[in-house]
Amino acid sequence: MNKTQKGALAVLVITAVFLIFSATIPFAWFSDVPVLRILPLAFLALACVVMGLSIIFFIKKQSCCEVGFDERDITIKRKAIFASYIALWVLICIACIVPSAILGEEGSIKVVFLPIIIFGVFLFSMLVYSIAILIQYGWGGKDGQG
């Protein structure tokens, strides 16, 4: 597994944890159950632990003459960026249409939901980027023997 794959895998895990964390916020917000109230904090702590572990994952040294990045990685990254860009626009469109479709033209939402929507859209975009990279590398499973 090279640096790009490791990075994509780390971003995938961290993003997934953050998305779960974001999903638990409404439960904590409207719930009277004390356990549910600490759920977002638990996931935030988990995200921090995963981030710490991913740093250790990255530290692993490569030999001095081993190439870490080449033209294929650039091609893969370029395609993944394109996929995440498309996903970003699709999600922005969805984020614009869904609230008005649910609440109606005269409906209103709290201002606090705006950063959550924007943050969520960017998280999903990063998720698409990581998945696109991992798919193109074949989930790291096509590592043949020399």
């Binding site: 190439v67 080449d70 294929r72």
Partner: protein
């Protein structure tokens, strides 16, 4: 990534060059081992620069390493 139209005989040339490993070839060509694996499997078509680098490692012409539509 789909299968490339360019076929190659890198695997044969590696074994003819004293059982050269994919890692050795990758280091000499300045790419990762995964890229060599992908090229050998026909999953990735290298750039012209990389094709020349690989053929230079084997000391043969590009046409002897890569064949179009083969």
């Amino acid at each position: 990534m789909g299968k490339a139209e360019i076929s190659n005989c890198i695997r044969r040339l590696r074994f003819e060059k004293g059982q050269m490993t994919q890692q050795e070839l990758a280091d000499k060509a300045g790419v990762t081992r995964q890229t060599i694996i992908a090229i050998e499997a026909g999953g990735y078509s290298p750039s012209l620069t990389l094709a020349f680098k690989i053929s230079k490692v084997f000391g043969v012409s590009v046409g002897e390493v890569f064949q179009y539509g083969g």
